[in-house]
């Protein structure tokens, strides 16, 4: 079983420790929620993991091999505002990913299948500038799956999605889990996180203050609901 291991990850901006000695391990087929108040270091952690921010220290290991500067090919980030090329059509995004990731063989059939799966097939000739947030998000997921990145990071994916879009995204994430992908979701929506995730990692001031299942998080909290527990431990 493939594993993503992060050890001693640190990132500072001046005197602020955005990520402070963060370590965790995630196995294939797991969905893990990254929780924490604003400024806890969730987005910084994701940017470090996908290679868009250089950590000050720490190692990121995938299946026993330490990942270098090109780890964006293994760990893909779907950011809070999913940006796509305004002047490329949906299908042209898939073609570009196939060409730039040097995919061989029957990638076209796979791309078509992905667009079907994520309800984008009928919009294949639509320009990026005309896509809604949900459609852009689904396009990025499709493109990431076409490139076959084994680890997907979703930064605040539910924000701006209507209820149908949120349900669709939850189904997508579960589907990704069933295909053996590692999925990390950074979110403030605790209910969604609880329903969706196998485990949670809670950050405060860049440090990990909890890692475990939601049952473990609630254990010993008595009648306290999840929100109150979260607010208590992050206060």
């Amino acid at each position: 079983m493939n594993t993503l291991s992060v050890t001693g990850l640190k990132k500072s901006f001046g005197s602020i420790n955005a990520v402070d000695d963060l370590s965790f391990e995630i196995r294939s087929g797991e969905i893990v929620s990254l929780l924490g108040p604003n400024g806890a270091g969730k987005s910084t952690t994701f940017l470090c993991l996908c290679g868009l921010l250089r950590p000050d220290a720490g190692s990121i290991v995938w299946s026993g091999k330490e990942l270098g500067p090109d780890r964006g090919r293994t760990i893909a980030l779907i950011p809070e505002t999913p940006e796509v090329y305004a002047l490329l059509t949906v299908w042209e995004h898939m073609v570009f990913v196939a060409k730039s990731c040097k995919l061989a063989g029957a990638w076209e059939a796979r791309a078509k299948e992905l667009l079907e799966r994520f309800s984008l097939a009928e919009h294949r000739d639509m320009l990026g500038s005309a896509l809604s947030k949900g459609m852009r998000q689904r396009l990025l997921v499709s493109a990431t799956l076409l490139a076959d990145a084994p680890v997907l990071l979703f930064d605040e994916p539910m924000i701006g999605l209507d209820p149908a879009g949120q349900r669709h995204l939850r189904e997508t994430l579960r589907e990704l889990r069933s295909t053996g992908k590692i999925v990390m979701v950074s979110t403030h929506m605790l209910d969604n996180a609880q329903v969706l995730s196998d485990r949670a990692i809670i950050l405060k001031h860049g440090k990990c203050i909890f890692t475990g299942t939601f049952e473990e998080l609630n254990a010993g909290a008595g009648d306290e609901d999840l929100e109150s527990t979260f607010l208590r431990i992050t206060a």
């Binding site: 996908c50 290679g51 868009l52 921010l53 250089r54 270098g68 500067p69 964006g72 090919r73 893909a76 980030l77 950011p79 505002t81 940006e83 796509v84 090329y85 305004a86 002047l87 490329l88 059509t89 042209e92 995004h93 073609v95 570009f96 990913v97 060409k99 730039s100 990731c101 040097k102 320009l127 990026g128 500038s129 990025l140 493109a143 990431t144 490139a147 990145a149």
Partner: protein
């Protein structure tokens, strides 16, 4: 080479879709047609008027001034580039797709450099034809090549400066760029000052012997060897940027995103607003202004809280007063030269103001704009005047300096009146052009040509009124007043038309501007 094929596919599809999108939008098609007709007409006109002539009239000290000025600008770009102002990726999508691809970093950086240079060439090509009326004596082909070459060099050099800054530290590269800029500016000051202070004549001659002026004149004159040397420097910069492109994505991503955020902020109301880094609080300043007039207060706060804006304003004031003093001194011995200088400065100011795109998205997309009292017309008038104050003050101080050294109160007053009226007029033309063509890419590109044409058209009626008025009334002062009133009426008409188009459609315009 296999890495370049996907990148070529990306750009070719983006370009094809851009044309497809433009052709399907008749409004946007009009502006491109106008710009193309303008470019072709001006190119033909230039070719006819400048046939046989060349830039050979540019000798030292003017050639050296231009050469050292360009070197100073390159020094600034190097220093700023090393500090992280390197907008290599075109946006978040570019960064996301390219950094997660299997393409080598060197291929991506090579492509980014070539793409950014192509964009620069496109913009310069438009700007050059906009300048068509100004530098008619310049040899068309060589002047085009020289401007494009220098601009491409300026575009390309920021990335290797950034890369070098990441390897050896920002400070040494910034010092290097700052030294180049400072020494070049000093050389230009000494050369320029030699006309007024005889003590500077000897050092100015020594600096001119350095050959920068001769090289500048050769480049602008289309000398093959000089142009080949410029091309060699550009290629050298390209090679250096590709060689250093290794394990660079994290810093390049941060720099690009910060650059794009800054560009986004710099559009519109809070133009050039960059508060001091790390400062999150400021002393609150209240105002007695109310209604749409609070636009002036907001602009004042922007100036107070933006160190970069204050520095820029200081430079503008120094250049304006210096130019006014110099022009007045020259004009005392040769009034015809003074007239040529004043007309030239007015033309340059018109073109510089006109090529700057208008952006209202940051304002009209926000409820704050619409909940204030006053009509849209009132708010647009206030916006136009408030954003014109800075330029008007700069030009007015230059006018006072001109009048003082020339020794004419009347000349100073006339120039001040023109200085106060010109910026709002040009802005009002910008606002009405925006109300028809709000897309940012149109504003930066073909709308510049449309604005210049519109401004020249707007200047025609006041000129006719002035000339006819003077002939009929026999009173020059009254005729001038009538001409100014005509100008004012045109500016008001422009804003009224824009207000009618924008009224109640703020979000629609903001979307049109940004997509």
């Amino acid at each position: 080479m296999s890495d370049l094929a996907p990148l070529a596919y990306l750009e070719s599809r983006r370009l094809a879709n851009f044309f497809r999108k433009t052709v399907h939008d008749p409004t946007r098609l009009i502006i491109w047609v106008i710009a193309i007709v303008w470019i072709v007409a001006m190119s033909a006109l230039r070719a006819l008027r400048s046939s046989g002539s060349s830039w050979g009239t540019l000798h030292d000290p003017a050639a050296s001034l231009l050469g050292f000025g360009s070197l100073a600008a390159l020094g600034v770009v190097i220093a700023v580039g090393a500090g992280g102002q390197a907008g290599a990726f075109s946006g978040a999508a570019d960064a996301r797709f390219l950094t997660s691809s299997q393409l080598s970093e060197r291929s991506v950086v090579l492509w980014l450099q070539l793409r950014n240079s192509a964009i620069t060439i496109g913009r310069i090509a438009i700007a050059i034809v906009v300048y068509a009326f100004l530098f008619t004596r310049a040899h068309t082909g060589s002047a085009f090549l020289a401007m494009i070459g220098i601009s491409v060099l300026g575009t390309m050099i920021s990335l290797p400066s950034f890369e070098l800054g990441q390897r050896i530290g920002q400070l040494p590269v910034q010092i290097l760029g700052g030294a180049l800029a400072g020494l070049s500016a000093l050389a230009a000051i000494v050369i320029g000052g030699a006309n007024f202070f005889p003590v500077l004549a000897a050092p100015a001659n020594a600096i001119e012997r350095a050959g920068v002026g001769r090289f500048t004149a050769l480049v602008w004159n289309g000398d093959t060897l000089a142009l080949l040397f410029l091309l060699y420097v550009i290629l050298l910069v390209l090679v250096v940027s590709v060689v250093f492109a290794e394990d660079l994505y994290p810093e390049l991503y941060s720099a690009s995103m910060s650059w794009h955020r800054q560009l986004q902020r710099n559009r519109g109301w809070s133009s050039m607003y960059r508060p001091k880094s790390g400062v999150k609080q400021a002393r609150s300043i209240s105002t007695n202004l109310s209604g749409p007039a609070v636009a002036f207060w907001k602009q004042w706060l922007t100036l107070l809280r933006s160190p970069s804006m204050r520095v820029f304003l200081g430079i503008e004031l120094a250049v304006s007063v210096g130019a006014g003093l110099a022009a007045g001194a020259v004009g005392r011995s040769d009034p015809s030269t003074l007239l040529a200088i004043v007309v030239g400065v007015v033309s340059i100011v018109i073109v510089l103001l006109a090529v700057t795109g208008t952006s209202l998205a940051n304002d009209i997309s926000k409820p704050l704009w619409w909940i204030g009292t006053g009509t849209t017309f009132d708010k647009l008038v206030a916006w136009t005047l408030a954003t014109s104050v800075e330029t008007a003050v700069v030009l007015s101080l230059g006018s006072i300096a001109l009048g003082a050294t020339y020794g004419s109160f009347g000349l100073a007053v006339t120039c001040i009146v023109v200085s106060l009226l010109l910026p709002p007029l040009v802005r009002s033309v910008g606002v009405v052009t925006y109300s028809f063509f709000p897309a940012a890419i149109d504003q930066r590109g073909p709308a510049a040509a449309v604005r210049v044409i519109a401004i020249y058209l707007c200047l025609a009626p006041p000129t006719v009124v002035g000339v006819v008025g003077a002939a009929v009334l026999g009173n020059g002062l009254l005729a001038a007043a009538l001409a100014l009133l005509t100008l004012l009426a045109e500016a008001i008409a422009c804003i009224w038309l824009a207000a009618n188009r924008i009224e109640g459609r703020g979000a629609e315009y903001a979307i049109a501007e940004t997509t």
